[in-house]
Symmetry: D2
Subunit: 253 residues, 4 copies
């Protein structure tokens, strides 16, 4: 049974900061926030977690294996190097959606995202090492069947983006409501989904749903592991099997 540890990363008071004392150059904001994301991705990633940029001012990470001390160090390190600070909420559970919901609640309880006095709060709890297991995390890695041939080389860059984006948005909503899963666009035509215990049927159903709804054909590799990296790496290998064999759903186990 999965036990996903989810961290909500929220930049403190970011909206007001971007327009104080007057609006800041957009390119600087874009540069700053994507580098901040990159740094968090690297910190979490080299501890075998995954971080998703989501809205950039609110990022979501799967942090099985990271302790509260790791989270504290991340806050300190960002505070030492950026003009903004982070608040973090951590929660765990069999349902990724519920875990994120709990992580959100502990941060919201500490104050509004735009409260000037709420800075660098760190709330929640992690899974202790002895309780970690090899199937705590289940990751599904989707991509679009022949995206380069069908979209990138055929449509203009924006229309192929709209096409892919529609597939992603539909998948995101469906996986959330039908399967308690969190889906994230990670670039190109790739979507990574953090799942509870789902089986091949569930993925078949989801792919069918997206194809019917928005006519985008997906394939998926799925992996399990004690960390996001372990599960996700297995999923990536499984997806390579889809690409090689022309199958639609491959489970790594």
């Amino acid at each position: 049974m999965t036990n996903t540890q989810v961290t909500l990363v929220q930049i403190d008071n970011y909206g007001p900061w971007t327009v104080t004392p007057e609006p800041r150059r957009e390119a600087d904001l874009q540069t700053m926030q994507s580098r901040l994301y990159a740094d968090i991705s690297q910190f979490v990633g080299n501890r075998d977690g995954y971080t998703f940029f989501t809205r950039f001012d609110n990022m979501i990470a799967v942090t099985n294996g990271l302790t509260m001390a790791d989270h504290e160090l991340l806050q300190e390190s960002v505070g030492n190097r950026y003009p903004v600070t982070l608040s973090l909420g951590v929660a765990t559970g069999t349902s990724p959606v519920q875990a994120l919901s709990d992580a959100t609640t502990v941060v919201q309880d500490a104050g509004s995202a735009q409260d000037e006095d709420r800075r660098e709060c760190l709330e929640g709890r992690t899974i202790d090492d002895p309780h970690r297991t090899d199937d705590d995390v289940q990751i599904a890695h989707f991509d679009v069947v022949d995206a380069t041939g069908q979209y990138t080389d055929e449509l203009n860059a924006f229309d192929s983006f709209i096409q892919i984006e529609q597939g992603y948005a539909e998948l995101m909503r469906h996986m959330r409501h039908a399967h308690d899963s969190l889906s994230f666009f990670v670039g190109g035509d790739n979507v990574i989904v953090v799942c509870p215990d789902l089986e091949a049927d569930d993925y078949e159903e989801a792919i069918g749903h997206v194809e019917t709804a928005v006519d985008v054909e997906l394939q998926v590799g799925v992996g399990r592991g004690s960390s996001a990296h372990d599960a996700g790496f297995a999923a990536k290998h499984a997806l390579e099997v889809c690409r090689a064999d022309g199958t639609r759903v491959e489970l790594a186990w």
Copy 2:
């Protein structure tokens, strides 16, 4: 009349690279591509352009004011510092969608995005200085009315993201098909739209459409200028007026 200069930035042969010789660590890919985007955003941005991460493997930039020599330097600099290279297509026109379409075509004509032999191609043409005018670029900066109060502090982080994402996706499709405009999510609850000559009515209509379709309430500031920064900066100031006065559409001119 607008004359938008659009650059399509495409990472050469990126998909295959990410899985050669075997799949690379996802966190490294995320870090690499968001830093690459940040660097391009900074290079283009401190020449008064805007860059949007879009799919990360295909980025779209508004580059009025940048010459072909600037584009070449960007390619050289990225080639010197990253494990990947860039191909660039540049085109101009009164319709941003048409300009992007042309920029895409010149890159596609040079070879597939996954062609091993197509590397660092640079195609197209820019607007010469004497032909630049103060209303070449029109930028609309949208955000969600009271997103923090309605979503960030109320819903869990993912559901508020879904909510905002739906508003964005609907706006993106509508602005593309009804108004020949390119819309980009830029973080938080912000969407930047690159427009042809549109008037207040068009923005009212678009906001109404999104509210009807997905029940997300938007406001927008719009600016014009000889560059994306000039137009976008005016748009940001106009959006501040919306926030202060509770209006829905503010034009800076």
Copy 3:
């Protein structure tokens, strides 16, 4: 007794790469190598190690607490994100100079720094957790007495740099030959020295030597710990005591 774990970080075949196929833009090389250093510093640093940029193509790190698996992950992560790769040699010992010498030997034995076939070699061994102690690492943090008042605000920027550089170079040579220690300039007027078991007398002697030789007045805080960060953090606090009390040598223990 100290037991310093030293890692030599060597960029593979860097010199030839910088001029292949022809010399690369200097600013790109400077950007690339300082970002690479920053990344290594962050990776090692958030595992409580210290990394020194030294020559940039050869960096030296104090890595007590990092395993061989950590070293391997660093190599993989850099290889995924940079156009160059790293070879690493690790060694331990009571003398930092001897440890570095051993770390160098294992890398040199694997091939020349400019051998095209030597890539990503990882050699040597780390200290197992059960053998780590609270005084494995001794760090001395030196700075120049009133550098801002005497140099930065008085001399031109280059002459104050020459002055500080002379103090640093003299300290570096002296600490290496008289005290088996490794000294590194870390910016401003700060020098960090990785030491074997030295006592207050040794530091008094070194400060006296530098003052006599090149007329630069130094002060120093010294700390011990199981990691570079623990030792170095204690040293920084001790140096704050020098600054507050006007003393020249402060030991944290």
Copy 4:
């Protein structure tokens, strides 16, 4: 005749910031300052200037071709993305040492480097476009003859660094006092020197001096141009001739 435009880049109130409210993690400071340097190097470099990290809290740049507006934009962009701000002094002249001295004076006149109230000052003046010429900048690029064979592959990493560092320090002092030139270590065994009008004889003399004083054998390529990049690129190509032909001094003109 040369007319070098030199910019002194000073981080405002940096020393106090690094220990407020208590000493910050060294690895974070190292990461932050080397990334800040990398960003400045990139901004200046893609406008054909050179930036040297020098002390990191005080950096020196050759900025021929950059306007005061460019300098202002650099300040704004750094202020938007870092927890620290920059003050800049700009001056020009036939002697690089004198230009730097003047650039330093204008910043010092604005207040102490550790004055809390001196923030983001921008002083001095640049060379107007009509007055720029093709020999405004003269750059000499030195390296150590067969550094890899003699030092990197033979000595331990620290002793080869000491060896190279001694050559560099001697060259730096000599070029400053005998030839009004500014020398900067740029990594590996490379030193870049910003010179007034010097001839082959001067470089022969300097190489002889360093060999006599500290027994380090140098070679040098020298170039001229309207910008640091143009001059430096010619110097790098000239240095390639030294490497190929075994000569010691090559002028590109």
